[in-house]
Symmetry: C2
Subunit: 407 residues, 2 copies
């Protein structure tokens, strides 16, 4: 009979309960791999368990409470007591990451958090281990399953945002209060964590500007389809001018892009670096069983050998104004010379048109175009000028376009 | 100045030379992560270096010679001398894997081999670590870049097999002697390694039946396109009837399948398991720099902590006759009742038609169909009967179809 490895479980909700069940199912197989029989020896919820007692009787703590406090306090105290910690808490890591990692380093324990980003998609391990020696240039990610489900519904069924959101709620892909998901804040927290690991520089959630999908219309999706594009909520973390930029916004993708075919509630992350070209990892982005599986992979790794905890080695500036290609769509009077005048105003701001579609609709017309990349500040300046032109009948809609086409 | 970590490099060809360069470029960043400054302290080729001397002066051996001997002998001797080994040698691992892993275990050293399968796509690490606790049900992989490039060319440009192969050779995606790639043998070796890790049961290259792409015609690809399918060389490793089946063959995929959009020389692997649903990893499958990057990730991991070496824990039977859906295409006389008679003969063997396309071509017709899954032995029995029917004018063409459609 192998020795017991004692796991203290904080939180017993969607993920916590799934984790306890999965651990029990796989305990014998894990004992074969590690030489120890893992077992949940204590559970803390609001109504049962005592943290200090659980801590004293555990070799490792799994934190699945969520939120900042008391999760932060428990995680710190566990590491100070010399215990490894596994957590799926993106909010905690995106806001108190430096404090937690530094605590892990000084107590020589492991802090693992695969479940915090993209569910079972093993992007944390790949960044920290497979690509430990790589100079990562850029990450693009679909890291929120709720919004990807909604956008997929809108594209497939021509649904409105509200209709798609309701369907997502009915199917359990969106919470009753979907704010964190649909505003892009959840994705921003995940991108902060990925950027921190990729670039070895501190990145806090507050440094990640985000834009959500609440204002995306069925028309945006339909017109984009005419241009051969698909719409996703994309997180970007990239090196720019010796600094970095980390941000989240809706963006159009060309069909050849590896993220373009990621549908439904799936997540996917593309990592680019000179030596590797680019790799893409995809899979279910959330769900109790899936996240529990990511947590379990971390627990097993912690049971075997000490992994390094990431120390920052860079202090890169966060670049605010970056280049992007844009989609721009507006209603205009159906009269000669409109396109030429719009093109001239755009051109004065350095914006040049890559492709354009003009479609008459009794009396007026819709002008939809994709612009070559330019600084966002210049783009928004140009849009202001265009919106003031006499023949422009609707507020122009602007959405970013990811330009890369991959093989 | 951190202490030097001495790397002995066996082989200095495409991958070996790229690895030496990458290690030098990234040495300072690696020293930051690991606390040791890695350095190539000896190189062995046919014309320079002495193995015993290199071994004595190394902390770790990187084997990039390829083939069985002398690579096997060197790897064994290095581990017996207590050195970690990193290799990209799929042939060696698919044939002498058990001997090597057992040697690693008894000498308590690491044997890492991410570069041996799918280049920079981190499938080995994900199987061994992220999914260490998962019960893997099935793996589908595009694990040979040469054949995927050729098939992509045939689909895109309507090229013949010979034309696409020539183009692959001109662009450096295929070797002068492409036999191992186009016959499926290279992919079979990689699938043997993946199956071994996924199912913890011994799998030898000789137990993996494989079929290549040499006999695929431009017509197969064109007709399949009419049915909405794409053609790939697919490696499969799955649990069947309490045993496993590991095999490689051309197969048609529906457009929703995560491997359907993997084009050019890219590789991709989909891993399915109850708890995770399915994850897909994709990226460049080969190339000196890419493979060197995978090797470097392994070297860094070996520099930090001891990883477990996989021990077999199962002795699963290899199942020979498995179910598959099939595409079947043949020329027939253009006369009434042909389809009904073919359907009847197929039905007698338990084969039922899922979709069918009949197209007249002056005087005769081409009958193309997709059959629902059935045991391969029964399918080939049915094909024999059909091919003997009087109105069948060409040898029927049979190609497997992967049925799963994913979201
Ligand atoms: N759900 C997913 O698909 C998913 C995916 C990825 C990551 N995550 C992350 O996983 C973590 C857990 O998510 P979840 O969906 O499992 O949450 P959940 O269903 O709301 O469960 C939270 C658990 O924590 C307990 N808890 C809350 N406050 C507590 C307190 N002050 N003291 C002790 N226990 C407390 C709750 O206790 P009671 O039972 O007493 O209420 C409950 O058992 C979060 O960080 C989340 O971001 C979730
Ligand atoms: N090329 C790829 O894209 C790729 C991708 C994945 C995996 N791999 C694997 O990586 C390994 C190396 O491939 P490669 O393409 O780099 O091969 P390569 O270009 O042919 O280089 C082989 C190297 O090994 C040396 N060598 C051969 N026989 C030797 C012997 N008896 N004693 C000492 N040295 C010997 C050669 O020496 P000389 O210089 O004296 O000829 C050469 O430096 C293989 O296992 C291959 O399967 C390659």
């Amino acid at each position: 009979m192998p020795e017991t490895y004692r796991v203290g479980l904080l939180g017993h909700g969607t993920v916590g309960a799934a984790f306890e069940q999965l651990l029990a199912e796989r305990a014998d197989a894990i004992a074969h791999i590690t030489g120890y029989q893992p077992q949940v020896t204590g559970v803390l919820t609001r109504s049962r368990g005592d943290f200090d007692e659980i801590l004293a009787n555990s070799d490792l703590i799994v934190e699945l409470i969520g939120g900042i406090e008391p999760a932060r306090d428990y995680v710190l105290r566990a590491m100070q007591a010399g215990k490894h910690v596994v957590s799926a808490n993106k909010l905690l890591l995106a806001t108190y990451g430096e404090e937690l990692w530094s605590c892990a380093r000084s107590n020589e324990v492991q802090l693992r958090f695969e479940g915090a980003v993209a569910g079972v998609v093993p992007v944390i391990r790949v960044l920290q281990e497979s690509l430990a020696g790589a100079h990562v240039e850029r990450i693009h990610g679909i890291v929120n399953g709720t919004t990807n489900f909604i956008l997929t519904e809108m594209a497939r069924a021509g649904a409105t945002y509200e209709g798609a959101l309701q369907r997502a709620q009915e199917l359990g892909y969106a919470e009753a209060d979907p704010t964190d998901d649909v505003t892009g804040r959840d994705a921003a927290a995940k991108m902060a964590i990925l950027a921190r690991l990729a670039f070895s520089t501190p990145v806090h959630l507050d440094q990640v500007p985000y834009e959500g999908i609440e204002h995306i219309t069925a028309e945006d999706v339909a017109y984009a389809r005419d241009l051969g594009l698909g719409l996703k909520l994309i997180g970007t973390a990239e090196r720019v001018d010796g600094g970095i930029s980390v941000r989240v916004h809706p963006a159009f993708l060309y069909p050849g892009h590896p993220l373009a075919s990621v549908n439904g509630s799936f997540n996917a992350v593309t990592i680019e670096s000179d030596a590797i070209t680019e790799i893409t990892l995809s899979g279910p982005g959330a769900g109790g069983a899936q996240t529990a599986s990511a947590v379990l992979g971390d627990v097993i790794s912690a049971m075997i050998p000490p992994a390094s905890t990431p120390e920052t080695s860079e202090a890169l500036a966060i670049v605010e104004d970056v280049e992007n290609a844009f989609y721009l769509s507006m209603e205009v009077d159906d009269q000669p010379g409109v396109l030429a005048q719009v093109a001239e105003v755009l051109g004065m701001q350095g914006a040049s048109i890559k492709s354009v579609l003009q479609r008459g609709m009794d009396g007026h017309a819709r002008l939809t175009m994709v612009l070559h990349p330019l600084l966002e500040s210049r783009f928004y300046g140009a849009v202001q000028l265009v919106s003031r032109m006499a023949f422009v009948r609707s507020q122009p809609r602007a959405i970013r376009v990811i330009e890369e086409e991959f093989e």
